[in-house]
Symmetry: D2
Subunit: 418 residues, 4 copies
């Protein structure tokens, strides 16, 4: 990893070599106008650095003012678009196409691209969007502005530009402290706890990075190598467990996947990450035959509360039946599964493989799903087919045992409600 940082460090050095940009006293509105209008990079980069540096010093109100300026003053001009469209419809030549393309894109998109000319600016822009999402929630104009950020970021953080790096106990501390900070599923309590997740032979971790932000993981997945499919996350993470040699393992368990960048919300990396890691592990350790998750069911308890049943939460079988039913039958109005984690993995082409009671006995696990967890199975030879059926017909790939559990729950629920 520090190879990585090392390589591109010159990008960031540049920024600090020059220190902060000299501020020339113009209003920010004048700077954005100058930057969008700049004919070349010559003065553009200096203006861009002024804006980037100013932004870094602003409070929320000032940031909101800046966003409103972008949303309003650098918005699309429908009349200009209409005129360019008419010209293009009439001529269909290169010049009219170019003119239309220019008119159909709000100037704020070009502004963001030009801000990104400053070495090191990419991470600042990602933070800027995190601010925008936080401050602009519910505001239609700001959410339209966010669409422009998202459109650019989807292009910049294209899968083809991302780099997969293993994260290990030999990774740089400043990366590792971010792993601790960003772990969103099963909190890492200390450096010793982190070491237990990285150093043993039967533990792995992988992250996607973008070359322009080499110090910032975008998303990471924690993997346990096991014999057989595990049914308890506390068992998996127990301090006193026996460590397996990597060669003896037959199963890779993705037990935690965490997004790291609020500013990249809506740009999906998880599917690529899981498949890439599965392919890499499979090639490095041919003994690995099964790739599964050990996943929470965050929507289960809430859904269950809304059902007209009273459940004995100490009845493990009943809980597994209801969870199987919930995952495979409970849908949102748009036909997708109610549970968000299920939506993610099933959308990736995974199968609902097995359910476990008393699998997450941490307070949050008990609260959100009465301790029930699920394995989603990634069978690389079937994910495409599963995905197609799910995408086209909402069909959920389900192991037969899980189907039986769901059917039993269905019967019980029907009896109750009838």
């Amino acid at each position: 990893m520090s190879l990585f940082a090392d390589l591109l460090s010159n990008v960031f050095d540049n920024r600090y070599r020059f220190g902060l940009a000299r501020q020339d006293g113009r209003k920010t509105e004048d700077l954005t106008a100058a930057l969008v209008g700049a004919t070349g990079e010559v003065t553009g980069q200096a203006v861009a650095r002024q804006i980037i540096d100013r932004y870094a010093g602003w409070d929320d109100d000032e940031k909101l003012g800046f966003f409103r300026h972008l949303a309003t003053d650098l918005d699309l001009d429908p009349a200009a678009v209409r005129a360019a469209l008419d010209a293009y419809a009439a001529h269909s030549d290169k010049a009219s196409y170019r003119a239309f393309a220019a008119a159909a894109e709000p100037p704020r998109q070009e502004l963001v691209r030009r801000l990104n000319q400053v070495p090191g600016a990419t991470r600042q822009l990602v933070r800027m969007r995190a601010d925008l999402l936080r401050l602009g929630r519910g505001d239609d104009a700001l959410m339209a502005l966010d669409l422009d950020f998202r459109h650019l970021f989807a292009s910049w953080f294209n899968r083809g530009f991302l780099v997969l790096r293993p994260i290990s106990w030999e990774s740089p501390a400043h990366i590792l402290e971010k792993i601790i900070a960003y772990e969103a599923v099963h909190a890492i309590h200390s450096w010793d706890d982190l070491r237990r997740r990285l150093q043993p032979e039967d533990r792995r971790c992988f992250a996607f990075f973008h070359p322009a932000m080499p110090d910032e993981p975008l998303i990471f997945v924690e993997v346990a190598l096991t014999k057989g499919v595990p049914g308890s996350v506390q068992g998996l993470l127990a301090e006193a467990r026996d460590i397996l040699s990597a060669e003896q393992a037959n199963t890779a368990v993705f037990y935690s996947i965490s997004n790291c960048q609020a500013g990249l919300a809506g740009i999906s990396f998880g599917n690529s990450l899981i498949k890439q890691v599965a392919a890499d592990l499979s090639s490095a350790l041919p003994g690995l035959k099964t790739f599964v998750t050990l996943s929470p069911i965050p929507g289960f308890a809430r859904w269950l509360d809304a059902q007209p049943v009273t459940v004995d939460t100490s009845d493990d079988l009943k809980l597994r039946q209801l969870a199987a039913y919930y995952l495979t039958r409970a849908k949102r109005p748009n036909g997708l599964p109610d549970d968000p984690v299920a939506r993610f993995h099933l959308g990736n082409g995974a199968q609902v493989h097995a359910l476990h009671a008393q699998a997450d006995t941490a307070p949050n696990g008990l609260k959100q799903s009465h301790g029930v967890m699920v394995n989603y199975l990634y069978d690389l030879s079937r994910v495409s087919q599963n995905h197609e059926k799910f995408a086209a017909a909402g069909e959920i790939a389900t192991a037969s045992e899980v189907r039986s559990l769901a059917s039993a729950a269905e019967t019980a629920l029907k009896e109750i409600t009838s």
Copy 2:
């Protein structure tokens, strides 16, 4: 292996690890439709790899067929744009903005972005555009398609994503052979010739790279460290010259700048490269006070032939006067300098600093400019100002000596033509 290649080699390994994609027999048109329509990355990446692999095997006719398909079938739909625009004008909300943005971008743009999800695809797409420029010249529909490529590439090859790397005799051979191949100004005749341009203490070379194409320089500049401003490129490159210690040099001469990627035509890196290199050298070697080019004047002889004068090409002073006049006075209809190299450097904010006769006595130098060459001066404290005046008013920064030369030529030309 260089740090650089090493770092990102996994990107390309992935591609080769899987070998060529399995082709599923669908028509290419069906594949592009499937890719643009794909709801997720799951099947998208497999489809994208099929298209990339097919393209690599095509001849020019097949490639042209593919480009026509993109230009026609995946073109903008003006009626849809109009409808979306009306809806947006009416509602101005996030949903209508999103719908407009989708309609206003031709599907082929999203196609190219999705092709780029394949690890290693970026370089293939750059080659694709090189093919497009070669095969589509003069065809309005294909040139409109090219605008979409260019729009995406300008975003992907944004200055903020580029990495400046020194090129030295310690660089990997597979990079160096590209330097030999791409040198466009003063040909490198052999590996020994290359070594003479890289290894001595008073020679430097720098290139921009993109992390997704770590083996491919995008543009490079060759630099000579000298005492004083040189007036002959043959002198500068003489095999038997004395080598200066870097600490003794007071001048850095950019004597050759070469673009490497035909597929990145129109995406400008040169200005950034020169300024970054000047800043880096200035910081590493504080003794360097002057940053100049030693540049060809490719349009001079042709322009001179068109003048109503007969020039004694053995009259060095006369040649310098006329070249000074040509560079500072001869304009294209749009008001920009006639000479393309002058347009580049003056647009960057450089100054016409000095003219030298018998400065390039190679056949091509004699043919294109009767051996005259020019130094453009990059005074980092003045480039912004120079650029502004040039961009706003077409004003050309000129050293007083050069102004005098031009004036002498003006007088002579007037006499002749009057």
Copy 3:
């Protein structure tokens, strides 16, 4: 740093690629005989790996048995040496010289060299010597064996083979945990404490590594950049202190130097480390003008107890006077300073620069020196000269203020004892 581990990781991979050596059932004494006698590397390496692997599994008794075997069975043969010496004295030719050199070196030296042919063995041999020093203390035969280890290690860990690497918050965690473990002067209490010593701009750390043990620092020094010479280590390390920009600092303070490898006892790296770090910092930050330590005086309190005086330890001036006297006047029978830290720095050519009371108020600091600390000054232009005078005549370079303090103490001590 991970560059470093990365580079040479193949050395260690080899070891693990093959797993443990197949043990062939021979007695260890037979293996050592075979290894010393082996004519080539062919079978030697396999035998060496067996010995290395066996050793790793032994308890202290078995290790001691092994050491006794080396000390006894692979000892010098004085009769053979005498015969070879006679032959050499008689012939003085190449063959007799070779024979003498072979006879004059005990076979156990060649054994250790051949053990080192196993990739990764160096660190095992360093641990082996640590065991030997621990288990063999006071045993003449084992201490003679240790001289052979030490002779080889002095050659292998020659300054020319060591690599200086900065240690930072971007260093790999598995290196950093060793820094925490090995810090011998001012304990590092947690990863947060470590971060405070590495991450701020005004803190630096450097270590020597050997290429054959890239994961193991040999010695490291912690540096604080300050304005002026500090007089309190608690002040220096305070959590709430203001952080200085590196450019504003004029002084580099070496406040902690720790050896890491018990098995390299007696192989001195500290002098080279300090001078190399001083030279590197001086070149990177030209504003640094003063290089000093902030050092403990571990022998002071014990010495003071033995003096016929009663000291009011709340009298700061008195304490400083006595400490100055102790450092510059109290000698061991061999004429060297009584204080071990003083012996180290004065032997390096440093000067006793200043004394501070209440400078280390931690329990250990109060106990060993009543809280007094000392700055040793490394004036690179004077260290050679200081060193020569110290080595030749025991003369201690002393700042005039310190001399005055010592004189005052001398007077007081004389009064008391007369």
Copy 4:
């Protein structure tokens, strides 16, 4: 810059950062005395640098003078050895052992170790020994001095300190030019020729490096991946040959092994190199089942000339028979094979596998062996056993077909000579 050079570049930077050492005007003899006597590194390193720098500027006469000084003035003192030996025989304690060890080693050994304290000195010392071997040939005193160099180098260039690195077309040019220069078996004629040996998928090259000389390969081997065992080196290296995919190959052919450092003569790396490369290739490409050389027989023609036979050198079978006989039966007085390449490979535990006529039709191949070449087979499961038999009893592992060829020649030779 390669990882390797990059990593350790700081070692060499140090040297150049300080420039040449300040010379203090003392005689070299005084400097060596001072260095050997120096009590610490403080002044030692400065003295060492003076000597290193002086040496670099000397002509052969001055170098010879220096060597004579080392051989004479810093030689062993037999009387002192004898006294120390007596003391040790009498006391057998640590102090007397230490004193003996010091006396039994000539001071020039310690001198060379101290010269090596200068960063970057190792390569200078290797060059120094190359000079010594060249200038001191036949001089007993200088050859005794060489034994001291060799003793130290054997310890420093221990297998455990060497690093195996692949050499490819992506390696740094300054390393590759050394491959061109050092290839001793089948000359590399140009960079294009080199590329043909490195870039195709079915060609590999590996070298050993020492961390203190990262720019200098110590020994390298060129490998061709083939289907079946090849019988012609011109066929193997043909420009127009078909390139095999690495996965299709079943045989790895070591067709050239070159030592690079004259100053490391007598320190054997070849055996380790071949076995390490065979193990690495075998693990990376499981399809490789056979590891052979395609080797010259440099002693064959000369030996044949000395036989009382006249051979029709156009009779391929006859030549193969005689070569088989030569390799397996012709011995030197010490019982080892007459052919030096045979000695090397058979000593490593290889088997004489097959003989090919018209296998090297280059002028040198025809001259030294009438075009005959031999494959030595490295069967990793048998090399130890082969080596033991060869070392113990001079028994040569021979394929049955080769045995038959040799027998046929034996019969023919007997008939002729009887």
